[in-house]
């Protein structure tokens, strides 16, 4: 199923992972055992969990140091993030006291690309289950601050580029030219760009970093991430904000990359066309 959205589409896109996230004010009355209680409710589909460091420092923790007695006291909940792994090994939910994220990734190159239209209902379903759990546990409903859509793309060496002198073949805004002839070919290129989205402080962040995958393949990792504030914390507004963010990610990705690469990824819709 493909989205009838009028957005650019690719038959063979380089996306290896997509994540949809909701960031909210730290949940009041949330306590650490709830991570396990929530797992109990989804364990059939998400049989494995892992505790990870939190994404950002949380405000519920206070650290008190006393030099005279050499004491260290922690108050509040220890900040953690829980990973809930789906049995398919393609899906993950991440929860901490101020965010809820769902990731989908390709396990290998044979895995087909999952379109947003297929991911959105799954996110909606799990977000509702999480909100229902909070309600049942008498935890205050999340006050949503931002929604995020991120696409992680791997542009493998040999598929449109072979060395860092070729990055201009991938990134439309990068010429790679120098004003003189002093500099040799770069041994590393890392790019970061941020673009404002209209209204309410939304932004699109794009980063390009070369790396090595666990299978040894050299790749350019292109992360395209949009964040924006929803009209309210209601699910309908959260989903609207995710739709807006997703539109920015797809259009931003297409604009940021060259038409030459669009050929490699088999773009199916040209500029100005609408389906």
């Amino acid at each position: 199923m493909k989205p009838p959205s009028g957005l650019p589409d690719f038959e063979n896109p380089p996306a290896v992972e997509t994540l949809l996230g909701v960031y909210f004010s730290p949940l009041k009355r949330w306590i650490t055992p709830y991570f396990g209680s929530f797992w109990h409710t989804i364990r059939k589909e998400y049989p494995n969990v892992q505790v990870q460091p939190p994404l950002v420092s949380e405000q519920g923790l206070r650290l008190e140091l006393s030099s005279e007695r050499s004491t260290l006291r922690l108050s509040g909940e220890i900040p953690v993030r829980w990973f809930y792994y789906h049995r398919s090994k393609r899906r993950l939910i991440q929860i901490q006291t101020d965010c809820f994220i769902q990731n989908w990734r390709k396990r290998d190159e044979r895995d087909s690309y999952l379109h947003y239209a297929e991911l959105r209902p799954s996110f909606e379903h799990m977000w509702k289950r999480f909100c229902d759990f909070l309600n049942d546990s008498k935890v205050e409903a999340p006050v949503v601050q931002e929604c995020e859509v991120t696409y992680i793309n791997h542009i493998d060496r040999g598929k449109g580029w072979t060395n860092f002198g070729d990055v201009n073949r991938v990134v439309s805004g990068w010429s790679g030219l120098t004003s003189g002839r002093f500099l040799p070919m770069p041994s590393l290129i890392s790019l970061n760009a941020a673009y404002p989205m209209p209204g309410k402080g939304g932004r699109l962040a794009v980063s390009l970093q070369p790396g090595i995958r666990p299978d040894g393949k050299e790749t350019l990792q292109l992360n395209v991430s949009a964040r924006c504030k929803p009209g309210s914390s209601r699910s309908v507004d959260v989903l609207k904000a995710l739709d807006l963010a997703r539109g920015w990610v797809v259009n931003g990705f297409t604009d940021f990359t060259t038409e030459q690469m669009h050929e490699v990824w088999k773009r199916t819709q040209r500029r100005g066309e609408r389906r």
Partner: protein, 151 residues
């Protein structure tokens, strides 16, 4: 046993490379090139090029370099738990494996990935030598020895 006051021949920084990054919501694993010593990329590209060698690449009828050896050598070189391990010399080995060699002062360390992807090491320095199987790529003792910090 480690020599207490020995000064290592290269800088030993055992901080796990991935821990330096701030936690991110990304799930897919990747090692960013900025985390590697500069020679690692060259080495990785060399290893990848070994896959393209055909049968008899050494003019003596050697088997081609085998995929399990390439994959294990790639993983090994990108998982070396040190920041500043000196540059390795890497080459295909007759029979279908891949070999690494380091020389620091009078110490030589050779690691060979066999065609099936398993690894063996030989360390020699002065009149001593020791060989064994390398089962844990994150083992730091070999690097401590190569740096002259351990005996």
């Amino acid at each position: 046993m480690y020599a207490r006051h020995a000064r290592p021949a290269f800088d030993l920084d055992f901080k796990a490379k991935t821990q330096r990054r701030r936690p991110a919501p990304q799930w897919s694993e990747i090692r960013l090139l900025e985390e590697f010593s500069p020679w690692v990329l060259t080495c990785l590209r060399k290893i990848a090029s070994f896959s393209e060698l055909g049968e008899g690449w050494d003019s003596y009828g050697s088997a081609r370099v085998q995929a399990p050896a390439v994959m294990a050598a790639t993983r090994f070189i990108s998982e070396i738990p040190l920041d500043r391990v000196p540059e390795a010399s890497v080459s295909p080995v007759p029979g279908g494996g891949i070999g690494f060699h380091w020389r620091v002062a009078d110490r030589d360390l050779e690691i060979e990935f066999l065609p099936n992807g398993t690894a063996e090491y030989l360390k020699s320095g002065g009149e001593k030598s020791e060989e064994g199987t390398l089962s844990n790529f994150a083992d730091r003792n070999l690097w401590r020895w190569l740096a002259g910090e351990a005996t």
